[in-house]
């Protein structure tokens, strides 16, 4: 017998948590002397009011889908991958290297080549923490945090000492050659007769992100590997009994996770900047945690949560442009969302469970 109906668990609990986070955010806005109503208006208008706003919202969402899926896949195997940030950084390196050094004839090849390299690099970066957790019992959370810092140092070194073009001042690679530039939503929608903002960075990577959602859904719920990943995630002793190689499945799940996080690079590195800069990931790896939490580790949930966070990011940028509210407000909102949907989940869940139990008792 369940304590609560499924819909309450999947929809009601996150929704109430979200409302609580929103209410507290409104208080914060009030406390710094601004109007929450105005703020929300600017954010909604800025994120969804124009195709340009949509373009940015979807651009951010694309990144968050990748990192959210990355966290979710690892979560299904009970691995808490906090290293999406580092994996995405190194994934960016992979994408940059092929874009710079492989003469792609057409963007389609560049997309596939860049995606492949980014995933490969991201997976490779996830491999060591995964291996250490699976074979030597080192806590994955700590090792992935450490690997985020190590990734930053590696990238820093390479951008400053190796990849920076001569005469360049900022630590960044040269601009990628023209054939690697990915079509934006503007380019893609124009043939269909839809006018989409030319300047917004949302690009073909969005399609790849949606495909990744479908892929992850199939993987987790329809394949044998997914079955094994979930089994391991729920009970390691059970998995071992069933002849599932726990270290192997744990490592594979982390490799997929790292590949997804790394794969994000097609969006921010190839699709937007068209060169590799120092902090191209911009915390998307961490947002992935919140996205996966909110999305209940389900690809569809991840998609919705990613759009929510895309909205927060784009709305926050608009706030910073048109009001004096610093964009750190978004960091606060993000923190509150993680806090309520993740850490304080039981605060909402326990009273609800009690409510549903007593409801059931009264109507037998």
């Amino acid at each position: 017998m369940q304590k609560m109906p499924q819909w309450a668990d999947v929809i009601l609990v996150p929704l109430i948590s979200l409302i609580l986070a929103g209410a507290l955010s409104a208080l914060v806005i009030l406390a710094i002397g601004e109007s929450p109503y105005e703020a929300v208006k600017i954010m909604v208008q800025g994120a969804f009011g124009t195709t340009n706003g949509w373009g940015y919202t979807l651009y951010y969402a694309t990144s968050f889908i990748f990192t959210g899926l990355a966290v979710a896949v690892a979560f299904h195997a009970a691995m808490f991958n906090i290293g999406g940030e580092g994996q995405a950084m190194i994934g960016g390196l992979g994408a940059a290297l092929v874009c710079l050094f492989v003469p792609f004839p057409h963007w389609t090849f560049a997309l596939l080549g860049g995606f492949g390299a980014a995933m490969l690099f991201g997976a490779a970066w996830a491999f060591i923490p995964a291996y250490l957790q699976a074979k030597r019992g080192s806590h994955i959370v700590i090792t992935t945090i450490m690997f985020n810092f190590i990734a930053a140092a590696v990238l820093n070194y390479l951008l400053v000492n190796v990849l920076r073009p001569t005469g360049g001042m900022d630590p960044a690679t040269a601009k990628f050659p023209e054939p690697t530039h990915l079509p934006t939503l503007h380019d893609m929608l124009l043939p269909l007769g839809i006018q989409f903002s030319k300047s917004a960075p949302a690009n073909v990577s969005l399609i790849m992100a949606l495909l990744a959602c479908v892929f992850v859904w199939l993987l987790i719920w329809r394949t044998r590997l997914g079955y094994e990943i979930r089994a391991l995630g729920h009970s390691e002793s059970g998995a071992i009994y069933a002849g599932i190689s726990a270290p192997k499945v744990a490592i594979i799940s982390m490799l997929i996770s790292g590949a997804l996080a790394g794969g994000m690079a097609i969006n921010n590195v190839m699709g937007e900047a068209e060169r590799l800069v120092m902090n191209s990931v911009e915390g998307a790896g961490f947002i992935g945690i919140a996205v996966a939490l909110m999305g209940r580790n389900h690809p569809f949930g991840v998609l919705l949560a990613a759009i929510l966070f895309g909205f927060l990011y784009q709305g926050g940028a608009e706030l910073a442009l048109w009001t004096s509210i610093p964009s750190e407000l978004i960091v606060v909102i993000q923190a509150l969302v993680i806090l309520f949907t993740g850490a304080l989940d039981n605060m909402v869940r326990m009273p609800l469970e009690r409510l549903f139990l007593s409801l059931r008792r009264t109507e037998p």
């Binding site: 729920h234 009970s235 009994y241 002849g243």
Partner: protein, 550 residues
């Protein structure tokens, strides 16, 4: 229900005040009603037994008395005074001590530190430790509870750990001592020693509540006994006026039928040949020492022994999930003993099915649906594949049929495994493994926590498999189950086979001696039995003592 109103009958003399009286205790864990309106009285200076099947709510009730759980309703009277016990601190203050089923000790603390934890005098440790050391010495002298105060808990055996738990209670001056299944982890000799200590405590006027599954223990030591079933207290009787048969009936609600109708075995060729099998686990403890065993087609080989004497390791090695040295040959081919993580898979491929001892943490994924669990371990079978994907529709259809065949209730494959009762969970596991029609079935504690109807069903399935010419290796701590099902029996103690022989000539006393690691006169009487040197070599103790009187 004959003797259950004994204590409620009005007596002429003014009755002594009960040491403990519980009135109308109820407790739910979410949807599970673990205790329903339970009342019980325990007289001072007596040993009061509580029996009941797994999950009947015994531990829950005692944990409430000890303040570990909070009751939803009900009252507690200690020595006639209504007492509120919101936490263990209050229980300790009321003179209650409890030894839990799963010990509550800090593994990397010393015995002394564990004893004083929560009962320190003053803020500094040094004086507390010194005082406790003196007190432990006097307690040890008084009750024969010797322990090394400076040993780390993780370094001492379970028997010793239990002593520490008892010392903890005595150190806190408990007048009422609750022991939750204390003998489950003990050898008969250790259990006997424990009972001598309990006897001693009783004679000093302490009140003891003893939870156990073993009717023999109840009959031996308790003054009164309460029976619990499905969260309810079904009866309280005076032990002397009751009988094991009556108690068993009260426990399960109907007559126990442990005799199985089965045809004599027709053993076939040797399927498994185990030689010099040795297991050293991750903690460096030797679990198996040089096991030699054969398993034939068409027979049930029962492995008897007190829990924790290597049976689990044996099942795991055979099931491919524990590494070992030595050799196992199946139909002449050597099996891989490296215990690779995918070992379970290769065993299944060879036709070895495995019902693990612990269904909840191994046999099932509790959060998976029933249908997902019906292919657990066989999920890579091409039968369930549709291209690169799993054929969920086929699995579901088959699961539904399987659940109906095995009378799993409710027969709804979409329900999560955790939402089935323990017995039905076990049926799902057994159905999955038996329906593979394996050449070898490894089955551990097949009926632990399973109700009587299901026990019969599962037993019959095992025999049917045997009759189909398959080999069955049965591990159970229930001697009666072993004796009822097996064609041959091997007894394990301390990682060794103490003896093996035909089930027909085995008897309780002889098996009990072997389970305690002793050979001796009683075992010699069992015809056709081969008693190992290890068992004979230990004539130090009186065999009769260990077997328990019956």
């Amino acid at each position: 229900m004959s003797g259950h109103t004994e204590l409620e009958r009005p007596t002429m003399a003014a009755p002594p005040t009960p040491a403990i009286e519980l009135k109308g205790i109820s407790k739910s864990f979410g949807p599970v009603k673990a205790n329903k309106d339970i009342s019980i009285r325990v007289m001072p200076g007596t040993i009061h037994g509580i029996i009941g099947e797994n999950g009947a709510g015994k531990s829950t009730l005692m944990s409430i008395l000890y303040g570990f759980y909070k009751a939803d309703a009900g009252e507690i009277f200690i020595a006639g005074r209504k007492t509120r016990i919101p936490d263990s601190q209050a229980a300790i203050a009321a003179g209650i001590g409890m030894v839990f089923q799963h010990f509550k000790l800090v593994e990397n603390f010393t015995v002394l530190e564990n004893v004083i934890l929560g009962a320190e005098d003053g803020r500094l440790l040094r004086p507390s430790l010194a005082k406790a050391r003196r007190e432990l010495q006097s307690l040890a002298a008084e009750y024969g509870l010797d322990v090394d105060p400076d040993a780390l808990i993780e370094d001492i055996g379970v028997g010793m750990q239990q002593r520490v738990e008892i010392l903890k209670a005595l150190y806190r001056h408990a007048d009422i001592l609750i022991l939750d299944e204390p003998t489950g982890v003990l050898t008969p000799a250790e259990a006997d020693q424990l009972f001598r200590i309990l006897d001693r405590l009783r004679s000093e006027g302490k009140t003891i509540i003893l939870i156990t599954h073993k009717l023999r223990e109840i009959m031996d030591i308790t003054d009164t006994v309460s029976v619990m079933r499905r969260g309810e207290m079904t009866a309280t009787v005076t032990t002397a006026q009751s009988s094991p048969e009556e108690l068993a009936e009260l426990m399960v609600g109907r007559k126990v039928l442990l005799q199985i109708e089965k045809a004599p075995a027709t053993p076939g060729k040797k399927v498994l040949e185990i030689k010099a099998l040795r297991v050293i686990d991750a903690d460096g403890i030797e679990r198996l020492r040089s096991i030699d065993l054969d398993l034939h087609a068409g027979e049930v080989l029962g492995i008897a022994g007190v829990a924790g004497n290597g049976q689990t390791a044996l099942l795991e090695v055979l099931g491919g999930i524990q590494s070992a040295t030595g050799s196992i040959k199946m139909n002449g081919d050597a099996l891989d003993l490296t215990g690779r993580h995918s070992g379970g898979r290769s065993r299944r491929a060879r036709g070895i099915a495995h019902v693990p001892e612990d269904r909840q943490s191994e046999g099932l994924i509790m959060d998976f649906t029933a249908w997902e669990n019906t292919v657990f371990g066989y999920h890579r079978d091409p039968k369930w594949a549709r291209g690169p994907l799993m054929n969920n529709a086929a699995i579901q259809t088959e699961a539904k049929a399987k659940m109906e065949r095995f009378d799993v209730r409710p027969p709804n494959p979409k329900l999560a495994a955790k939402n089935f009762s323990g017995g039905n969970q076990q049926k799902i596991v057994v159905a999955r493994e038996i329906e593979q029609s394996p050449d070898v079935l490894l089955i551990g504690q097949p009926t632990r926590g399973v109700d009587i109807g299901a026990i019969e069903f599962i037993h019959n399935q095992i025999i049917a498999l045997r009759d189909a010419g398959k080999a069955v290796l049965l591990v159970s701590v229930e001697l009666d189950e072993i004796m009822a099902l097996s064609d041959r029996i091997a007894v394990m103690c301390d990682g060794q086979i103490m003896g093996q022989g035909p089930a027909a000539s085995a008897d309780h006393i002889g098996l009990g001696c072997l389970m305690a690691g002793m050979g001796g006169a009683d075992t010699q009487q069992m015809q056709g039995w081969h008693i190992s040197a290890a068992a004979k070599a230990d004539p130090a103790q009186e065999p009769a003592q260990a077997a328990g009187s019956h």
